[in-house]
Amino acid sequence: MKKLLSAPALFAGAGIFLIVGLLLAFWWAPTDASSMGFSQKIFFYHAPIAETALVAFGVAFVAAIAYLRTQDLRWDRLGYVSIRLGLLFSVLVMLTGMIWGKAAWDTWWAWEPRLTTFLLVCFLYVAYWVLRSVVDEEQRRATYAAVFAIIAFIDVPITFFATRFLPEGLHPVVIQAGDSGMEGRMLTSFLISMLGMTLLLAALIRRDLEIEDLRDRVTDLKTSLGG
């Protein structure tokens, strides 16, 4: 079981699911009937990356609570590793989202719920890093970071809700269908890609935690040798 959860195994699993998902998305799932046509295929990775980013921030949220209860710095480590990866994925969401926007609405930017929410998410979690960088003492840094990680994660769905349901045009618009519901082959391909992305996140978290552990070993060894 331990072997199964190691970084290389997770990468392999992720790779398999992602590649299969990709093949299915292109050759098995039907082309979208809407005006987007073929470009709708972007969605098969764009949405999983978005979900995975949110999962990463969720992991950080749980890690933050765990740290506040136990004061164990390993939870803090899991927290900032997850947030770093979550930020990476969020930037990817924005980039692919902008390409999607160009394909669907012929504009590189629109103040629509998904792009706006992820833009704010990026700002939020960059703020997390800024906060970490200005506190020198380890435990205090972890504490403040944990508090902010909790507050930030709570704010994400609230922000999405606000951008989606509080009409900027002041008056309630008939809510458009948005992305058409998926079923059958589209849904299966989509879910496989989702699983692949989540496995990829797990693999990356694993690998990053390893790196931090190794860094610690190196520092410890150096101090014991030097001192």
Binding site: L120, L124, R140, T143, I154
Partner: protein, 228 residues
């Protein structure tokens, strides 16, 4: 000393201190009035431009930035005079401190708004919205609570870091965007077209929900934010 008595005591201390010297209040009021003048010049590029649909935004941006200034000032003062340390030595529930500080900040914000809104109306609003005054006040209060609660929590954290006042806006602004969306929408609606509780219901409920969620979140985490 019961929690309520402690709350009143801390609140009284903050209010009395500020009302005695009044420098923070005066500066914040001046800032808000100046911001309005600047907004006029920033937006009136076109001859006789109609800013009616910008009014909600202008108002809330001004209040949010004024609040950031005020929070920085009051917490910096506390830190320099070590008031907080003294307070922490007493057996006071941390959450009581949070509620008292939030209430104090809320009072300051309301005072500033009491001065700013009439002047703003004079400068920018054509419509007589006296009929919609009650909904407007409700919007004001609900948004204020969210701003003060979140602001107090974050200021407590940022004051203990290396970059103190520079950090607070970075932490605060992304988080307060939902409040901004709801409050500016509601306010502009009132100023531009007139709106009753019915039209504003969605936004009011949203603000109420936001306040509830973040008050609970702050209640859970303030112990840690205020440190040992």
């Amino acid at each position: 000393m019961s929690g309520w008595t402690q709350f009143r005591a801390i609140l009284r201390k903050d209010l009395v201190r500020e009302l005695r010297t009044r420098d923070m209040l005066v500066s914040m009021i001046l800032f808000v009035l100046l911001a309005m003048v600047i907004f006029h010049y920033a937006f009136s590029v076109k001859e006789g431009a109609d800013l009616t649909y910008f009014t909600g935004g202008m108002l809330w941006v001004t209040f949010i930035f004024a609040m950031l200034l005020g929070l920085n000032r009051s917490f910096a003062q506390e830190k320099d005079e070590h008031c907080l340390d003294g307070l922490l030595l007493c057996p006071v529930d941390r959450v009581t401190i949070f509620l008292a500080k939030t209430a104090g900040n809320l009072v300051f914000l309301l005072i500033i708004q009491a001065v700013a809104v009439p002047v703003f109306t004079l400068f920018f609003i054509e419509r007589n919205y006296a009929g919609d005054l009650l909904p407007f006040l409700v919007v004001l209060l609900l948004a204020d609570v969210g701003i003060c609660a979140l602001g107090t929590l974050l200021a407590t954290i940022s004051m203990n870091t290396r970059s103190r006042d520079l950090l607070l806006p970075i932490l605060f602004l992304p988080l307060i965007v939902p409040v901004l969306i709801a409050a500016t929408g509601a306010t502009t609606l009132i100023f531009a077209e007139g709106a009753g509780f019915g039209d504003l219901l969605a936004r009011l409920l949203f603000l109420l929900g936001f306040d509830a969620v973040f008050l609970v979140a702050a209640w859970g985490t303030y112990d840690f934010a205020i440190g040992e």
